[in-house]
C-alpha cells in the first residue's frame, strides 16, 4: 500500500510540503489535503486590495492543479481532533482520515484587541480572503479608514488603502510605530515619511471603545479626541491555530510565542507528526534557539524540509532567518535577524533629510542583525537589503571590516565582496540539492 500523507493546512507550508513530496519521492504516495479555505497566498492580498491584481491571482493551487498533483483535496473541512497513535484525524464534519504521517500547518489567525465594540459592523481584520473581500467592499474613494495597530501587517496594506482613495489614520498603543520590526530611530524616519504622505500616526494611544454612530464608527481613546471612521481595520496581532490539538499529546512550548516543539527535521514528539510554519517552534539560524517566526520564508523552508523527510529523505534544517520588508509610500523598510539585542555591538548611521538609515549589530566578527531603511527609488537600498541578509545568513567573519563599517555603516558592499561571502553562500541549499522551478513536477504517476 502506498504511503498516506495527510497535510493539514493549504498555506505556504502545506503547499510547499506537497510539491516537495512529489519532487522527492521514489514511490508514488497518497496525499490528502485538509483545508478550511481554498489555497491562496495571504502575502498578496494587499495587492488585491490595492487593485493591482485580480482576485484570481491570489490562488496558489486550483482544483485542476491539485488534481495534476494527484492530491485528494478536502477543502472547506477543518481538522478537529488528532490521534497520533492511531494515525487518524477527525474532521469537523465527523469524518476520519487515516495517515502514515501528517503535517500540522494550520497557520495563524488574526485576533482583535479586546476593545468594546470591536465585533461590530465596519470593524475588520485583514488576514483571510473573506476578510479582504469585506474590506474591499467597505472602502471607497474618500472613505475615512482608521487602522488600529501599527505593526508589519498594518503596513503591508497601507499603500493599498491609499490607492483606493481613502484617507488613513494609524493608531498604535505602543509609543511608536512598527515596534516589533524596527528600532525607534527607524520608526521615527518612517513616521516622518508617513506624515509627508498625509498619513497620520497616533502613537501611545489606547482605544477604549468603538461605537456605531449613524452608520459610522466612533473610536474613543484613554486620552485625546475621538476619531470617526467609515472603516476600522484591526491589525492587533495574530495567534497560531493550535487549540484543536488539545488532548492530542503533541507537545507545545509554554515559553513566549508558544508553538509545537519540533526537532531539526520539523518532527513533533510523535515521529509521524510534523509541524511547519506559524505553528512550529523551529530553529533560528542566528541564535540556534527554537522560536515561532510567523513569516512566509520560514513557512516555505519548513514545508519543503518536511516534504523531503516525508518522502523518505533525511533532511535537517539549519534554521530560518527572521526577516521582514515593507514598502511604505515608496520607502523601503527591512530588518534581519536579532536587530534588537542589548548584548550586541551596534553601529548606526542616518542620512538626515534623505530618510536613509542603517543599523548593524555584531557579536564579535559576526553580523547577527540589521535594520535598513531608504527610498525604494534608491537602487542601493534594494541591493544592500540582500547583502545584509547574506552577511547575517552566512555568519561570515567581518572582524577585519568592523572599523570600516563602524565609520560608514552604509558601505556594506566592499565588505560583502571582500570577505568572499559569495563563496560561502553558493553551497548553501535548504534541501541539499538545487531547487526546482515552481511549476508542477512533471512526473506524478500515482495510480
Amino acid at each position: 500500500m502506498a504511503t498516506r500523507h495527510l497535510i493539514i493546512g493549504a498555506g505556504t507550508a502545506g503547499l510547499n510540503c506537497i510539491r516537495t513530496i512529489r519532487e522527492e519521492e521514489a514511490e508514488p504516495s497518497e496525499i490528502t489535503l485538509v483545508s478550511g479555505e481554498r489555497p491562496y497566498s495571504r502575502m498578496v492580498l494587499p495587492y488585491y486590495l490595492g487593485e493591482t491584481i485580480s482576485e484570481s491571482h491570489v490562488f496558489t493551487a486550483t482544483p485542476a492543479s491539485l488534481a495534476a498533483w494527484k492530491v485528494k483535496p478536502l477543502i472547506g473541512r477543518r481538522a478537529a481532533r488528532l490521534d497520533p497513535a492511531a494515525g487518524a484525524v477527525t474532521l469537523d464534519d465527523g469524518a476520519t482520515v487515516e495517515f502514515d504521517d501528517c503535517l500540522i500547518a494550520t497557520g495563524s489567525r488574526a485576533v482583535k484587541a479586546p476593545i468594546p465594540g470591536a465585533d461590530g459592523p465596519g470593524v475588520h481584520c485583514f488576514w483571510t480572503l473573506d476578510e479582504a473581500r469585506a474590506v474591499i467592499a467597505g472602502i471607497t474613494p474618500g472613505s475615512r479608514v482608521v487602522m488600529v495597530g501599527a505593526g508589519f501587517i498594518a503596513f503591508t496594506i497601507l499603500n493599498a488603502i491609499l490607492a483606493r482613495g481613502a484617507s488613513l489614520t494609524i493608531v498604535e498603543v505602543a509609543p511608536r510605530i512598527l515596534p516589533r520590526m524596527v528600532d525607534a530611530t527607524c520608526a521615527g524616519i518612517v513616521e516622518s515619511w508617513l506624515a509627508k504622505n498625509s498619513v497620520a500616526a497616533r502613537t501611545g494611544a489606547t482605544v477604549t471603545s468603538i461605537e456605531q454612530v449613524k452608520g459610522q464608527r466612533k473610536l474613543s481613546f484613554a486620552a485625546g479626541a475621538p476619531l470617526v471612521a467609515d472603516v476600522v481595520i484591526m491589525a492587533t496581532g495574530i495567534r497560531p491555530n493550535l487549540e484543536w490539538l488539545e488532548g492530542s499529546g503533541v507537545e507545545m512550548s509554554t515559553a513566549p510565542g508558544g508553538g509545537i516543539l519540533v526537532d531539526d527535521h520539523l518532527r513533533s514528539n510523535h515521529p509521524r507528526v510534523y509541524a511547519a510554519g506559524d505553528v512550529a517552534r523551529g530553529r533560528n539560524v542566528v541564535t540556534g534557539l527554537p522560536e515561532v517566526h510567523a513569516i512566509e520564508p520560514t513557512a516555505q523552508e519548513h514545508g519543503r524540509v518536511v516534504g523531503a523527510n516525508m518522502a523518505g529523505r533525511d533532511v535537517a534544517h539549519r534554521g530560518s532567518l527572521v526577516m521582514n520588508i515593507v514598502e511604505v509610500c515608496h520607502l523601503d523598510v527591512a530588518s534581519f535577524g536579532q536587530w534588537e539585542d542589548p548584548a550586541a555591538e551596534v553601529y548606526t548611521a542616518e542620512r538626515v533629510g534623505r530618510s536613509q538609515y542603517r543599523k548593524l549589530l555584531f557579536h564579535g566578527g559576526r553580523l547577527t542583525g540589521a535594520v535598513i531603511c531608504g527610498p525604494a527609488a534608491d537602487v542601493w537600498t534594494t541591493n544592500d537589503v540582500g547583502m545584509l541578509k547574506g552577511l547575517v545568513q552566512s555568519g561570515v567573519d567581518l572582524s577585519a571590516w568592523k572599523a570600516h563599517l563602524r565609520a560608514n555603516p552604509f558601505d556594506v558592499k566592499p565588505a560583502f565582496l571582500a570577505t568572499r561571502t559569495v563563496s560561502r553562500l553558493l553551497p548553501q541549499t535548504i534541501l541539499g540539492r538545487p531547487s526546482n522551478s515552481p511549476q508542477l513536477p512533471q512526473s506524478v504517476v500515482v495510480k
Binding site: 496558489t60 520588508i325 540582500g386 565582496l417 559569495v422
Partner: protein, 163 residues
C-alpha cells in the same frame, strides 16, 4: 549550462555592461536600472562586475509566494512579469543582493542571462565578462579582498588615531 564568468583584472570600469544591460532589460539606457553592477574598489582605482550567480538554491524563486520566479531554458532564474505582484520578498530572500525592483513597473527583476545571450558579455570590450560553460563561482571575492587592503589600513589608522 553556460554561466557568466567575471575576470576583474581585465575590467576597466567603463560601464558599457551596465548601459547595455539596462537597455536589454528595461528598454532604457539607464545604468541605474542595470542588474549587473560594477563595484568600484580601492577608491575607484579598481573595478569588478557583479551580478546574480543563478545559485542552486534560488532563494528568490523559493521565497516567491506566487511562483513568479521560474527557471528558463537558459538556466536562469527569471521573474514572470504577469505573476509578480511586487511584494519584494525576493529582495530580502536573495542573500547576494542581486534582486532588483523597478519603481516604474512595480515588479522585481533580475539577471536572466538575456535568454542565453547576455548583453553585458557582448558589450564588454576587454572580455572581463564572458559567457562560458562554467559552474557558479565567486569570481570577484579574492580580487575585492586584495583591492581593499589599503582602505582597511586607512580605517585602522583612523580608528587608532581616534583612540
Amino acid at each position: 549550462m553556460k554561466a557568466l564568468a567575471f575576470h576583474p583584472t581585465k575590467c576597466t570600469g567603463c560601464l558599457r555592461c551596465e548601459l547595455m544591460c539596462s537597455y536589454t532589460q528595461t528598454g532604457q539606457f539607464q545604468p541605474a536600472k542595470s542588474v549587473i553592477r560594477v563595484a568600484p574598489l580601492e577608491g575607484y582605482t579598481s573595478y569588478a562586475p557583479y551580478t546574480c550567480t543563478q545559485c542552486a538554491e534560488g532563494w528568490c524563486m523559493t521565497a516567491c509566494p506566487v511562483g513568479a520566479i521560474t527557471i528558463t531554458a537558459a538556466g536562469a532564474k527569471d521573474v514572470v512579469d504577469d505573476k509578480c505582484v511586487g511584494c519584494k520578498l525576493c529582495t530580502i530572500a536573495c542573500p547576494y543582493g542581486t534582486m532588483f525592483y523597478d519603481v516604474d513597473t512595480r515588479k522585481a527583476y533580475k539577471c536572466n542571462l538575456c535568454g542565453g545571450a547576455p548583453a553585458c558579455a557582448d558589450a564588454c570590450p576587454t572580455q572581463a565578462i564572458t559567457f562560458e560553460d562554467v559552474p557558479a563561482d565567486d569570481w570577484i571575492g579574492s580580487f575585492a579582498a586584495e583591492r581593499t587592503v589599503r582602505i582597511l589600513a586607512l580605517d585602522e589608522a583612523a580608528a587608532a588615531g581616534a583612540r
